[in-house]
Amino acid sequence: MSDGPEYCPKTLQGLQINAVTDGYIVYQSDRDRVHYLNQTAALILELCNGRNQAATLPELLQSAFDLPDAPVEEVEACLRTLRTEGLVA
């Protein structure tokens, strides 16, 4: 991750997060934008609580979805998108 091993991503305040069966609908009122997060992205957003280091997220996902390998690149890409879209700092 670009912010070093200590980086703990955190979901920004002011988001309206609505859970549905297969993901999250997130409304960003300041930008009047709606984001549709699938279950994986929704879990990553949940894990961005300011306490989990970014480097540990792939392992947490591996454990949550019972994956054979930690999805390092996928998590990095998702986290990058969440940051670009202003959902996570």
Binding site: Q16, N18, A19, V20, T21, D22, G23, I25, Y27, V34, Y36, L37, N38
Partner: protein
């Protein structure tokens, strides 16, 4: 002076005019729908034929002129629709067909020209209690159709042969080159037409598959919302969390993608999946 009252959900419009002919035309176009909705707002509209043009004014003091009866009627209905919708500021508007089935609503969502009205009329002719063809108003998991006649394109006559005896279709068929919209009133087809807020039980997302057989597949909630939310007009009141309301509504219903091909197979597919 001639007078007529027309209800659009919570709004009632009292129309006064010195032209009997104009009022007859307005009455012919007004939806003959039974609405179980308390009237909370009233508006008086006057239309006076001056001998040269029509002067249209309302109880708010607005005033304007139109040269032809067609133009004044068009303006009148647009005005009534706009006010009626403004008087329901907490509802989210969604482009959708609304069908009442056993006291619950299923909605067929799709963009303009995706075949919603043609399918709505097909369902109506098949015995379904279709409440509206174009606009549904949603709040807290409930939907009500906006009371408007179903506007069927004239070139859809061939797709709806059962309507060939409907007078306005007969007129349209005699001018096949002309692009016309035919205002179909379910009561004119001998069907009941009643509007009541209904709990939403299912959403169908319409995708064109013209010329082929219709198919229906279950759809994910997220995918459904991805298509539905862009079709929505948010509540005028800026009601907080309307997206949360829509998300909850969709999450609590059955959701399907309806690839619309041949109409009879579409009606059968919907019937099968709902039964």
């Amino acid at each position: 002076m001639h007078l007529e009252r027309i209800q659009f959900l919570s709004s009632e419009f009292e129309i006064r005019t010195n032209s009997r002919e104009l009022l007859d035309r307005v009455c012919c176009l007004a939806p003959r729908v039974q609405q179980e909705f308390s009237i909370l707002h009233g508006c008086r509209i006057s239309i006076d034929w001056t001998g040269e043009d029509f002067r249209i004014s309302n109880s708010d003091g607005d005033e304007d002129y139109e040269l032809s009866s067609t133009a004044v009627i068009e303006r009148l209905f647009k005005h009534m629709h706009r006010l009626a919708l403004a008087n329901l500021p907490d509802h989210t508007r969604l482009r959708a067909v609304t069908v009442n089935q056993a006291g619950q609503a299923f909605l067929i969502v799709g963009p303009k020209c995706s075949g919603k009205t043609t399918l709505a009329v097909s369902l109506l002719l098949a015995g379904y209690d279709v409440c509206g063809d174009e606009l549904a108003l949603l709040q807290d998991g409930h939907a009500i159709a906006f009371p408007r006649r179903f506007l069927v394109r004239g070139d859809c006559v061939e797709l709806l042969p059962q309507l060939k005896s409907y007078q306005e279709f007969v007129d349209s068929a005699s001018h096949p080159a002309r692009e016309t919209l035919i205002a179909v009133d379910p009561t004119g087809l001998g069907k009941p037409w009643r509007l009541i807020p209904l709990e939403v039980s299912a959403f169908f997302l319409l995708e064109p598959n013209y010329g082929a057989r219709t198919s229906i597949q279950p759809s994910g909630k997220l995918e459904m919302l991805r298509h539905i939310i862009p079709q929505c007009t948010p509540p005028a009141s800026n009601r907080a969390n309307w997206i949360g309301d829509m998300s909850c509504t969709v999450d609590n219903t059955r959701t399907f993608t309806l690839r619309l091909g041949e109409l009879n197979s579409a009606v059968l597919a919907i019937k099968e999946i709902l039964e």
